[in-house]
Symmetry: C2
Subunit: 432 residues, 2 copies
């Protein structure tokens, strides 16, 4: 059996998983790859640290040069997080003739154009299945399996931490703060969970998927995004009564006037596949013009699911499939995008609106007048006592019919100025 000599840079959670899979490979890849992948080196920062994997002696090193200058090694799994030194390490690997497999979505979202240009120029490849949705092979599915389709829309639950928290809240297990603590205790949230719960992580992944599925190049910072950190238990209760769950959705939709992108908590109809994605799971629903809706569900993070994606990429690279795909996709090249990203204000949609108001007889009349003025039809209005604090205020829940984001924003701005409106407590898009 043929052998491909490989190396790893980084041995955190994912690196350990990859090492375990490769050490155990033998039979398992023989059938699909017809070869074994042999680890020559694993570069780490601290060689003295104890490792979970049972590694052959001499494999661990803190000298990246040992990998760079080993001519036997042509393929390296780059498992370093963050931007620097991750970027410099990847460039060094490419410059030294190594094909790279990475799980670092932040790096690609930030420096994709530079890294891919460099790889193309040097005749090398970068594979990144593990960078989005961990164990769900969404990159290969869009770039290869659905290649006959024009992708019409893509909706994903791409951040496991957020989904764990909103699942807890949806099940009434606790407030946002309590649910986040449970997530941390169970290992589904980091000590500093900011990038997960504020939508950054999902926006970075969406920027990558949007480039792949629609050809647009967009900075993740330019994707309108809102996280889950200001969600209120009361809205979970009220939306459930209306037949919805609140989920953090990475959303892309191709419309006549362009591509709409956003990351935001949205109302997802109970009983549809995305609404039933629970705990730390990820899922993506892709609609292609030929295939129709296709739905993928699996673990989006964790050592072994992510390692599964990394090693699949390593096999693809060793076999030469990555070279073909990489060459043809021309990702982050100067190729012109077939579609433009459109202003999100034009996005049509239905909305859930919760106002906290001082009850008086003409409340509905005044609010309805403003909505009507902005051509927003109302599907339902429900008034709920505010359970806490016990004062004279009530929650007024409005579900709109289809309108435009910009119209809604303008109406909400006017409504918020009404004297009896204490607060516009929530405003969420309904996923169609």
């Amino acid at each position: 059996m043929e052998t491909t000599y490989v190396a790893l840079v980084g041995m955190g959670t994912v690196g350990t998983g990859v090492a375990q899979l490769l050490l155990d490979l033998g039979d398992r890849t023989a059938r699909y790859a017809g070869r074994s992948l042999w680890i020559n080196h694993i570069a780490v920062r601290d060689v003295s640290k104890r490792r979970q994997a049972d590694l052959p002696q001499g494999v661990i090193t803190d000298q990246l040069e040992r990998i760079l200058h080993d001519p036997q090694v042509t393929l390296v799994a780059h498992l370093v997080g963050g931007i620097e030194p991750a970027r410099s390490i990847m460039l060094a690997l490419l410059e030294n003739g190594k094909d790279v497999v990475t799980a670092n979505k932040a790096l690609l979202a930030e420096h994709g154009p530079e890294l891919f240009d460099r790889a193309r120029h040097l005749g090398r490849t970068i594979a990144f299945e593990a960078a989005v949705a961990g164990g769900i092979p969404i990159i290969a599915n869009i770039a290869q399996c659905l290649a006959a389709n024009k992708i019409l829309s893509l909706e994903g639950i791409l951040n496991g931490t957020s989904n764990f928290v909103v699942t807890q809240m949806d099940e009434g297990a606790g407030t946002y703060q309590q649910s986040l603590e449970t997530a941390q205790q169970r290992g589904f949230a980091e000590e500093d969970p900011t990038l997960d719960i504020d939508g950054t992580d999902a926006a970075q992944k969406l920027a990558i998927l949007a480039h792949l599925a629609f050809g647009v190049t967009i900075r993740w910072q330019d994707i309108p995004r809102r996280g889950i950190q200001n969600l209120n238990l009361e809205d979970f209760r009220l939306t459930q009564a209306l037949g919805y769950r609140i989920k953090l959705i990475a959303y892309a939709k191709l419309l006549d006037f362009g591509l709409q992108l956003m990351v935001s908590p949205m109302l997802v109809k109970i009983g549809t596949p995305l609404a039933e994605v629970r705990e730390n799971y990820n899922a993506i629903r892709v609609v292609g013009d030929a295939v129709g809706p296709v739905f993928f569900h699996g673990q989006g993070a964790g050592a072994m699911p992510t390692a599964s994606a990394v090693v699949a990429d390593m096999i693809d690279t060793a076999l030469g499939r990555t070279k073909i795909t990489f060459h043809n996709l021309k990702l982050w090249s100067d190729r012109e995008s077939p579609v433009k990203v459109s202003d999100v204000g034009k996005l049509p949609g239905r909305y859930y609106l919760r106002l906290v108001v001082h009850e008086q007889p003409d409340v509905l009349a005044q609010i309805a007048e403003i909505l009507g003025h902005h051509h927003i039809s109302v599907a339902s209005v429900n008034l709920h006592d505010v359970t806490q604090p016990h004062d004279a205020k009530v929650s007024l829940v409005i579900m709109t019919r289809e309108t435009r984001e910009a119209s809604l924003m303008a109406a909400v701005s006017e409504i918020s100025k009404l004297p009896f409106v204490a607060a516009v407590a929530e405003r969420l898009k309904v996923l169609d």
Copy 2:
């Protein structure tokens, strides 16, 4: 842009879809394939038949030789159903130096070894994404995306006709016969639906998936199978009350003592992804030892979803990815299987059992004694009046704890001989 010249054999539903996609390709494949696929010929039986697609003149022919002897054509979509002349046509294509893409699962399930051997010998390739689960790219996902995993189990709803019928029955829309007629009216069942509803189609697809996922070569006829044609509305009602839906499941599970394969209606827990697969949709749940459970859902048949899979294969073949995959997978070769198919009697599982009995005080005692004798624990017993016919008989529904298929069969055989047991009306495995 490069051009790959292709041909189609057959222009039924799928062939028409493929032709439409290819005629419309241009931009859509440019991004993923960096080339266009140009149709030189489409071979059909009856050239005078009107076609839906707007084809260039001279493309349609009833002379297969025009394809065989066109040196420009290196890639042919083989879209002919059945065994003969489908088999001879595929062999002729391979002999004449054409790479083949096919949607014919029956042909592969029946003659896979012969066809793949021939292709290997001739240095050609056969791709068959469309043969299983239509638009869901399950072949590429198992063979490539999950290649780092040892697959532990695979459970699929692989026949859209059957799933449409059981969904109708589950929703109380009609009896088996009425539901089948609805399926036929809505185009989800053929005039003669035998192979779909008796489990043959699902068994053929399972034989292909089992070969891919576990390396076993099994004749589809050797997979224990039962269809949906004897299911009774009453069991849908009773199992729903217990929290389950009845689904036709293609089932493969790797256990210590071997691989268990079967096609049968099973009880699937409401709220789990497979239970919520409705109408004509297909779905597959694969569990890999690294990735954990991954779930795929989409349209398993129909012109455009199937064409999506065929054209993806054509792009893969044109680019050279298929050659790499085909060469390494060594499907249906003389390579020894890493696992053995085990006798299904050893399969552990829980069961739903419905007995029709003449009510008398010692019914439960006598049945419980037999079950106990076969080491079968009972999880629940419920007695239901038989609504029709109105006689002295009642339905006795037993849910067992985990036992072996063989133990259950032996117990059922004894129970059926009890004088007060009018019938063992249903026996269904509970999907774990």
